[in-house]
Every structure is written in C-alpha cells, then in structure tokens.
Symmetry: none
Subunit: 290 residues, 2 copies
C-alpha cells in the first residue's frame, strides 16, 4: 500500500485540479498506472449483453491506444471494462477502504487489476462503504480522467452522477447510443441530447481526447519512431496488414496486435502504403486506406 498526499509529485495530475481533491490517496498496485492518460468507462450494473460486449471492445481499444481505463469495480459495465484492460492498465476507485472490496465477488478481479493497474481509495483502511460513499467516490472516477464514457445508463443512475461530476470538472463526456425502446439507453441518449459526444468506436473518444492530452497516446516510449534497420515485411505480413485496413480509421496499435507483426514491420507497411498514396493518417495514431 502506498499513500500519496495532495501536492506530492506522485499525486495524479488531473485529480489535484478538482475542487474537493482528497488530501490523501491510498493506492495499491502500480502507481505508474496513475500517470497514464486516463479515460473512465462506466455504466449500468444490469447491463445488456450488447452493452457488456461494447464496453469490452471499447476498453480494450482505448487500452491499446495507451489510456488507463478507470471505473468503479461494480457489476456489469464497470467489471467488463476493467477485465478488458487488465493487460494495458486499469484503475478501480473504491468507495470503501482497501480491506472492503465491494462487491465481494470482485475480490479476484481486484487482485488481477494490481498486476498492471491500481486500486485507489480516499477512505481509511477498515472503512466499510455505505450507500452515500458511492456518489462521493464517483467524483474521483471522473476527476482522474480526461473524459468519461457512459456505456449504458437508465435515468437517474449512478453513471449519470459521474457524468455530472465530469461536466463540473471540465472533463469530456461521451455516451454510447441505444434504442429509444431500451430503458438502459435512456440516460445515454439523454446525455447525447445534452451535448455529450456520441460514441460508436474508440476512435470517437481518441479524436476528442488526443488534442487535450497533448502528449501521445501511441507507441510506448522505448520504441524507436523509425523502423528498425532491416525490418522487411514478407508478402504474407503485408497482405495481413492491408486486409486489416479499410476506410474506417483504426489505431496503429490494433494493427500491431491483430496482425501479429512487430510494430516496426507495421510501420514499414504503412509507410509503403503512404508513399503509394493509399494511406491517410488521422489524429491519435489512427490510419485508414484511401
């Protein structure tokens, strides 16, 4: 367990800007995860299968783009978002002390988060979370992030409280649309009516957040920008990478992951396509075929 006090260099940069930043954070896991650019993915506990699947896809793609995924360890959308970003780094903000994981059945998930991510609480050890601690906790979820994505939310749900905090804190609010006949989409459709950015894809989030963050969100710092000397894609690799591309912008990270080729090889193939006038580069390390 590490304790980080407001004003210390390890204190999360965005969180220290909010009005009621907690004076002390108790952190378990990798404190380095708190230095990644972060985006919250939150939503209904009684989520639909489609909502869960979408949350997984979104969290995985945002994780691959270099974001830490922040959520509340709740059932449904929260848990799906944490699980899909265990490898890239995910942060769960607790409503109680570190010895009171809620819900209890997520104790294992909480342990798994520690490997690449972190558990964060402003509450003392021994504090059992009460109902009123959860909305209070939600201000930290939004406060840690550049933006929050609400995946499914009924009217008057906790996720909308997080969205309100996000607005008050000047964070970007994103919402995933759904059928007007689905009560779990009422809250998200309302958010879009009120000006939240409609999200159907990680690229929608990255396009808005990347200019805010300034510093990219792309390849890991130790990776050289130029292709490694002698990196030469074979015909099969080239075909696989081209097949992954289309008119919809996709993160270069996804190409690396889905093609199974090295980042250097992917960069060489993209450079070839670019020189042939077949590639368009977008913000956020996104590329598409022309």
């Amino acid at each position: 367990m590490a304790f980080v006090a407001l004003g210390e260099p390890e204190y999360p940069r965005r969180l220290q800007m909010i009005d009621d930043a907690p004076p002390l954070l108790a952190v378990r896991g990798k404190t380095a995860a708190l230095r990644l650019p972060a985006v919250a993915v939150v939503g209904a506990r009684n989520a639909s299968a489609a909502g869960l699947r979408f949350a997984e896809r979104l969290a995985r793609d945002l994780g691959a783009a270099g974001f830490a995924i922040v959520s509340g360890l709740a059932r449904g959308i929260d848990a799906a978002s944490h699980r899909a970003s265990l490898d890239s780094g995910t942060i769960a903000v607790l409503a109680g002390g570190h010895d009171h994981i809620y819900p209890r059945e997520h104790a294992e998930l909480a342990d798994a988060i520690l490997a690449q991510g972190a558990l964060v609480s402003e509450m003392p050890f021994g504090h059992e979370p009460r109902a009123r601690d959860f909305p209070r906790r939600n201000r930290l979820i939004s406060g840690l992030c550049a933006g929050i994505v609400v995946v499914e939310a009924a009217k008057r749900s906790g996720s909308l409280i997080t969205a309100r905090f996000a607005l008050e804190q000047g964070r970007e609010v994103f919402a995933v649309p759904g059928s007007p006949l689905d009560p779990r989409a009422e809250g998200t459709n309302d958010l879009i009516k009120q000006g939240a950015t409609l999200v159907t894809d990680a690229a929608d989030v990255i396009a808005v957040l990347r200019p805010i963050l300034g510093k990219p969100v792309e390849f890991r710092a130790e990776e050289p920008e130029a292709p490694a000397p002698g990196a030469e894609p074979d015909a099969g690799e080239r075909a696989r990478i081209v097949a992954l591309l289309g008119p919809t912008p996709v993160p270069i990270d996804d190409l690396v992951r889905l093609s199974g080729s090295s980042p250097a090889i992917v960069r060489v193939v993209l450079l070839e396509l670019e020189l042939a006038g077949r590639l368009e580069r977008h913000g956020g390390a996104l590329v598409s075929l022309l």
Copy 2:
C-alpha cells in the same frame, strides 16, 4: 386521379421550393392531406422489431400532433409509418406510375392510405419503377416535408440518400439512435454524429419543427415575382425583417410569416439587402445575412 401543376395553388408549398420540383404531380386520395404540415418517417426495409415498433409509435404521435406522415411505401419502416398514420393522414410517394404500386404486396396498404391521405407520383401512368427511380423519388419525400426522421438505416442505404436530399433542401434531419453493435443503426448514429437531431420521442421532432411551421402563410403562385407596384417597406418593416435574418439560412416563407409583412414587401427588402451585398441566397428559397 388529380393532376397538380407547378405554380397552381394546390401544388405542395414546400415542394415548389426545391430546385428540381416536378412540373406535374399525379395525386390520388385526399389532396387536402398535401396541405398539412408534413414530416417524413423513413428507414430500413429489413427493420428490427424494435425499429418497427418505434416507427409506429413515432408516426402515431406525430400524426396526433397534426402532421401528415410522408414515406415511400417500402417494406419495413416505411410501411409501419404509413399504417400507424392511416387515420391522421399519410402520404406515400411512388417511384412508378399510379398503376405500378411497388412492392405489389402493399396494394392494400396503398388503398387504405387513400381514405385520409394521398398517393403521389411524378411519373406517368404506366411507368414501371426501375432501380434508379427510387433515389430520384426520395427527393420528393424530403421535398414535401419540413423534416425527415430516419429510424433505422445501414451505411449506404436509401434512407441516407433521402437525408442528403433533406440537407440540400434545407430540411431538418432527425435520426433515431441505436446500439453501435447493430448494423441497422450505423447510418442513424452517423447522422447524429454529423449533426442530425437525436430522436427518442415525437416531442423531440415537434420541438424543432413547431417554430418552423407556425401558421402556414403561403407564397401563393399567383403572386407576381416582381414587387407589386408601389410596394414600399417602411423603416419599421425593414428593421423587423433584417432582425429576423442572420448567418443561418432561413426560408423566405418564414420571414413573411414572422415579420407580418406581405410577400411583396419582404421581397423588396431582400432585394435591397442583396443590392447592398448583405444577402446570400441559397437553394430552396433560403436566405441568410452576409
């Protein structure tokens, strides 16, 4: 069967403003339905059950609010919208002549429409609709209406063609959101990303269209294009009309209605502004201040 020629008083007021208004419309049913404020409800042929149910609810509620529901008599969303507004008045725009109802299984629906609504075609009797007649027909669907609602639409679908016509004609575009995992919502979610108004309820449509419709003051065809001799705006009229103008293109009809001045006076003021280099004219009898 009635024939209505461009320039005749019975010709639909909004349709006469579009660039390629048909010179002659063949109308069956109640021509009075063509004088109601109208909104199009269109969408996928292979609609989901939720899409069909939503289209019915929307068409019924908009019909109850006094709108004629315009659509294309296709399977799916179109048919559901017509059926739900048979009593309040619905207008089907045909791609072929009146003796070539398409699809054939909608012959009964077409007959039912005649009681309170109308079937409209710009094509001669005997014309069998070809594939290319449908997109052409779609400009009349949007042209007859103050706005169009797209309920479900895949990418590159006919409903998006109608939405494009609507934008070109200065009509309001509304779209019904859906899950990002539903291919039938790709087109509508895209429309919302591009600025279409998100619709979960008839009230969303009415809120936007009611101020546009107001009381229908028509630019009657018998009115001379040139200002009537002696039409001379006074300072108050001139100020009122200029105050109604701004950088956003507005229909000249609205200026007439909202200013309370005669069409001739409005035309004089617009001409003065134009000569002073302060007015821009757009397609569809729209004007804006420079």
